[in-house]
Symmetry: C2
Subunit: 260 residues, 2 copies
């Protein structure tokens, strides 16, 4: 598929996982409004924790909806990854110059990259050779203040558009929930090794049957100062370049000697 209108203005595809009605996606679109033709294709309902899910067993629909003046916007009844796939094939009829996902309400640093619909949407774009970035603010609230975040989403979008970047470039960007004046700048990091220690909450329904709510305590096992968790704790914006070749080359060498 050919790039769309490359010589005119760049095409910026925007999506997220909190749905088109979340303040975070409006903040992201506003922050890059003048950098190109902005097109939004986002879920019609919250899709947090959907990871890289795709919709196989149900039909998908697109619905043109009002958004910000001057921005073409659609909702999709599928997952964040479906949104990117449909945007390329049925809305843009070609690849955008870049794809931006977010701004997520809540952190997607460390192991969250695996569960995050925001990051999976951006990863899908990167797989399709569209340089992309996922953005998350460390504030789950729907009333979160995106003013500082918008400064950084714009800075990074400008870099993605200006540079000859790797076509599979994928950045996981997390922004501390503090006033802009307190942010120390951008830090390029690696993904911290951290995970959730599960503790399902057990309840009984009115019929006496047990059910469970997934909860978990976030535990960081990684004391490195080059990690995203460290950077965020010290008021840096963390940027982790992410890849989708999941081969563990170190282990590959080790197990080549196994005798089956």
């Amino acid at each position: 598929m050919a790039k769309t209108k490359k010589k005119e203005q760049p095409v910026i595809l925007i999506t997220n996982d909190d749905s088109i009605y979340a303040p975070g996606i409006k903040a992201l679109a506003e922050s890059v409004l003048d950098l190109g033709r902005v097109v939004v294709v986002a879920p019609d309902k919250p899709q947090s924790g959907m990871g890289h899910a795709i919709t196989i067993g149900h039909p998908l629909r697109l619905q043109k909806v009002p958004f910000i003046d001057g921005i073409e916007a659609y909702t999709c009844n599928g997952t964040p990854v479906d949104c990117v796939k449909l945007a390329v094939d049925k809305v843009l009829h070609g690849k955008p110059d870049i794809c931006l996902s977010g701004i997520n309400h809540g952190a997607n640093h460390s192991i969250n990259v695996i569960y995050s619909g925001t990051m999976s949407a951006a990863m899908e774009a990167a797989i399709e050779s569209i340089p992309s970035a996922g953005f998350s603010l460390l504030d789950y609230s729907m009333e979160a203040d995106f003013n500082a975040a918008k400064v950084y989403t714009r800075k990074i979008a400008i870099q993605l558009l200006a540079k000859k970047v790797d076509k599979h470039l994928l950045l996981n960007v997390n922004i501390p929930a503090v006033d802009e004046s307190l942010i120390k700048g951008i830090k390029i990091c690696r993904q911290a090794y951290a995970k959730y220690e599960e503790a399902f909450v057990e309840r009984k329904d009115p019929h006496g049957k047990i059910y469970y709510w997934l909860t978990g305590e976030f535990v960081n096992f990684d004391k490195g100062k080059d990690t995203d968790v460290w950077a965020l704790a010290h008021n840096y914006v963390s940027v982790v370049p992410v890849e989708f070749d999941l081969t563990n080359y170190e282990l590959k060498k080790k197990i080549e000697s196994w005798k089956f």
Copy 2:
């Protein structure tokens, strides 16, 4: 959490994404039945393409069900990843020695590792420090012949149990859909760079509204002879060690020079 009954027999957790009613999971359980205490926690309905989705907004339930004689088995109404989390916290009350996922009806080589519920379940176990493997047979049919596959699931389970393996070890194992006599052995591989070229099928519902079905043609861009796609095409069982640190260290070096 302490390992459960390590000194007695090893505990083998089995899950999948095709649901507990798929023949593939029965084949997997049968192949390792005598290697330890086998416990099955699997989705109550097909969950293909669910990737690393977790269930946040709905309660989860476990239901003890009949399976193979001598095997404790439960269905869960959540995703494959939910199954692993619930198995550890609410069924085993501790970590199993290994986790095996599959046998998936259909390939999970190359980029499929990202979309696959089978592999995401195994990855969740690896994140939780449980050595694990996901198995897939290159035959989507519910009538697929798992006899050759069972030979290799067993071989690999024996390796995982016998060796002092890395606690985060995660193997993506794909098995060609041919007679056992034609399989040339196991090949340790890297993940091929391949993807789906999307082509949504557009239809109109009886009310005149457009909807789309996700389809796509698999395209392999990677001509390397060290890839899983190559190995499978040449009748090897492909084994790719997989990791969940998604940091792209090569790109990290490159973008450290960016001026924001």
